[in-house]
């Protein structure tokens, strides 16, 4: 699945997006998996209170399932307008 990062998550992880093959059943499991990968992911996901997630471009909670999902995006709380 395609995983996207925006704003300071993008900066901390160092890339705007990547293709990830995972068996994670939920977003929370995916975050755990990424945290275990490298320090930059651990840093980016160190304070989950300031991380939001969208699955296939819809805002969801961290316990959302990943079955049949094409695109997951992580980003800070939005500041539009």
């Amino acid at each position: 699945m395609q995983v996207l990062y925006f704003a300071w998550l993008r900066e901390r992880i160092g890339i705007p997006k990547e293709q990830i093959e995972t068996n994670a059943a939920t977003v929370a499991e995916l975050v755990e998996e990424l945290r275990g990968r490298e320090e930059r992911y651990a840093l980016a996901f160190s304070d989950m209170a300031s991380v939001k997630v969208a699955v296939d471009q819809e805002l969801v909670d961290m316990d959302a399932p990943l079955k049949d999902v094409r695109e997951v995006a992580f980003f800070p709380p939005m500041t539009g307008g």
Partner: protein
């Protein structure tokens, strides 16, 4: 109903004129325009970089606009949101709503702005002499949404 996400500037007068063109049934048009301020938290700002999530942004704006049109009797509505590097003083966003009645035009424009602030996938990085800084979401913006009640799906 129209949503545009663009790097280019917009012309408020032209947008309002287009909204009212050829019709005589509109009683009230409310516009909100948001601009880049040259100060943030006491620090001078020269530019703001607006990042967004292409694809999701358009969907989010369309959803907010549709919800406003469901709640109020609107004859037209428009949301234009810019992205990319913007200088202090530049336009960021334009929301315009038209209705037979002033209250509906005012309320729907406020509703759209409140949801834009914390439900549209935009992120702002302010830059000045002191370096760059991602703008934090404000609690007040999250709270502003609550006044439109808990049942909203936008």
């Amino acid at each position: 109903m129209a949503v545009r996400v663009q790097a280019d500037d917009f012309d408020i007068g032209a947008e309002i004129a287009a909204m009212a063109a050829g019709r005589k049934d509109i009683g009230a048009i409310v516009t909100f325009s948001g601009l880049v301020r040259d100060m943030a938290n006491g620090q001078p700002i020269t530019t703001m970089a607006l990042e967004h999530y292409p694809g999701m942004t358009e969907k989010a704006l369309e959803k907010i606009e549709a919800e406003a049109n469901k709640r109020w009797d609107l004859q037209a509505s428009l949301i234009i949101h810019r992205y990319g590097p913007l200088d202090a003083g530049a336009n960021i966003v334009l929301v315009a709503t038209a209705s037979p009645h002033r209250q509906a035009a005012f309320e729907s424009a406020e509703f759209i702005m409140d949801y834009l602030k914390s439900r549209a996938p935009f992120w702002k990085k302010e830059s000045g002499a002191a370096g760059g800084n991602w703008v934090d979401a404000r609690d007040a913006d999250e709270t502003a949404i609550n006044r439109w009640d808990q049942t909203s799906k936008a």
